[in-house]
Symmetry: C2
Subunit: 338 residues, 2 copies
DNA sequence: CCATTGTGTGGAACCGGTTCCATACGCGCG
DNA sequence: CGCGCGTATGGAACCGGTTCCACACAATGG
């Protein structure tokens, strides 16, 4: 491959001047610049970003750690991050973090640490103090999406508050037999999103003086999961709740399909509300509290870029709440008169 | 940050020996190795992969270009690629290619070319001869998933054959009024997957001597898209087909939901078959021709690794067909007696 | 008129590793 | 005994850029 020295030789200048001409740093006469540029074009020269990184200490590459690729929320966040990074001239190196602790250590200790990335974005992953220490010890800024992490800049919706809002909407419609189908807290490496949402749900119930007993079921975070659990929950017409607050839209959609399957009319016999603002919510007429994961991804990149720019004033660490919007559709209404 | 020379100084050896001790190349006495390793541990030394890449000419990084992140097939492929790469000790740098030509050029000319990646995997993107020329001119192997590309190793199902199989299944059940809801060929940067599947469909119809007129509608490749188009197609009970061959499972699922919405019984009044083997197919009882995108991603990485390993014998370029399996579920049956 | 400032260029150090080459020692073998 | 080989180590070149520093020259200004 052709190197900068080749370009310099052809253009009849020194390596230093060739570098200045191509990078635009420092003084170069117009005439010289033209010669260098055309020499570069002639031999198809492209800079080695590796060499560049070595000397500048910057990689223009951001590592993204994320637990899932095939779930709506995570794919959307990744989408937002990707477009924002490309726009900023940064590469994105992807690490999917499995729940396996060994694999997780490997990603951090082998991959993330080797001066390959300038910064890290953690999506839906609560970094341990040790992991944060490793990264920030190397001077790598971190941004988080999906929940608060001590000491670093993070961004997410307020899960407790959002779940409370969803539940309050249902309560304000007059429902009293309300059930929450939420994610499994044991499996969550993705923060405590689901326990937070459960907390918000229970708080809302409590505030309204409603019965909390037997008001919660665990469901796999997927349409299939919501469907399966909803089938069992809705099977008994007498014990059946009049409203379901789902931990996320996938589960809510699963519940809607289950209801249809069982011949239960939505919303007249059953109200369903979700959280997230999933692409499919509109089609299913699902009332939901919408967040905008793609925009959050973009925002996280902007946070990071600010931090990378003014090296001195570190971007205020701490948690930023991202707003949610109640999208009322046709899946919620007042309960039928008894 | 600590450099190799620091480690060498502390261990009381030369840089060369320190390098050998840590990398495991060349002769080092056990005693010396121990000293170097503990010196490295003491100051928290980690190699600079940048410096390493510069001197070895290898980055241990693979670029993946992909058009969508939030569609099932692509997310699954990416998932497979990611895990296979990590297992092989490679990083994965992600480039989502938008249909925008300017952006696409930018990704190739600015990002992919700068000696950042050792190889490229193109998922669902038909590279132009010029793009292939750029990459292979730099000695970077390429693997493709999603369709054949001249001159490089690719991997995908046989879309024509698969669509024919799906259609034949429907025909063999006795259907004669069959409609195909397929993806829009104009939007497809992702090869001609959808026109191929349309071709297979039409060929099957022709072989069976069935009427091809008005047997095809375009649908956006999504559940919502399938739903919307199916609603219009199924609205008129007299003109309605007795079976739908969907271009992909998302569209098929949308059609199933639309049918339910319209009170059309599946499969007694309408059979639906899909292509892909989507996660949700089982839940919806959707008969489909399943491919395994995740496994294809893994396979593509293996192809690439083989090519990177024995630099001489380039892996046989050309297209490899990945098998599909007919998963019969409850969405297909013989048409009702007229 | 000479000091100062702005512009243009080259030489050389440097980033942080890997590896080639030279050197040195111990040992087995003809 | 001397040669050759395997082991162990250090010095130095090198990968391909960026940037500091020195130097040269022209224009400006007090």
């Amino acid at each position: 491959m052709s190197a900068l020295s080749d370009v310099a030789r052809i253009a009849g200048v020194s390596k230093a001047t060739a570098s200045r001409a191509l990078s635009g740093n420092g003084y170069v006469s117009d005439d010289t610049r033209d010669r260098v540029v055309s020499a570069a074009a002639q031999i198809g020269y492209v800079v080695s970003s590796t060499a560049q990184s070595l000397v500048t200490g910057q990689t223009r590459n951001v590592g993204v750690v994320i637990p899932y690729l095939n779930r709506w929320y995570f794919a959307e966040v990744l989408d937002g991050i990707e477009s924002a990074l490309i726009a900023a001239g940064y590469d994105l190196t992807l690490y999917r973090l499995s729940p396996d602790a060994v694999q997780r250590r490997r990603v951090f200790e082998y991959f993330l640490v080797r001066k390959r990335v300038d910064a890290v974005i953690a999506v839906g992953i609560e970094l341990t103090p040790h992991e944060i220490e490793m990264l920030s010890g190397l001077g790598k800024p971190i941004a988080g999406i999906g929940g608060p992490i001590d000491g670093i800049a993070t961004l997410s919706i307020d899960d407790v508050e959002t779940a409370r809002l969803a539940t309050d909407h249902i309560i304000s419609l007059g429902h009293t037999r309300i059930m929450h189908l939420g994610g499994d807290q044991d499996l969550e490496m993705d923060f405590h999103v689901h326990s937070q949402r459960l907390t918000g749900f229970l708080e809302a119930l409590r505030s309204a003086g409603l019965d909390e007993s037997d008001a919660f079921r665990t469901a796999p975070v997927s349409i299939q999961g919501g469907y399966a659990v909803a089938l069992t929950v809705l099977a008994d017409p007498r014990a059946r709740p009049t409203a379901i607050v789902a931990g996320c839209d996938e589960v809510a959609i699963g519940a809607l399909i289950a209801a249809r399957q069982l011949g239960i009319q939505v919303p007249s016999q059953l109200s369903v509300i979700g959280i997230d603002g999933h692409d499919l919510a509109d089609m299913f007429g699902l009332t939901t509290l919408a967040q905008n994961p793609k925009a959050q991804g973009v925002l996280a990149v902007e946070l990071l870029m600010a931090e990378l720019a003014d090296t001195g004033t570190l971007e205020e660490p701490g948690w930023r709440a991202y707003p949610v919007a109640l999208d009322v559709r046709t899946s919620t209404t007042a309960p039928a008169e008894v």
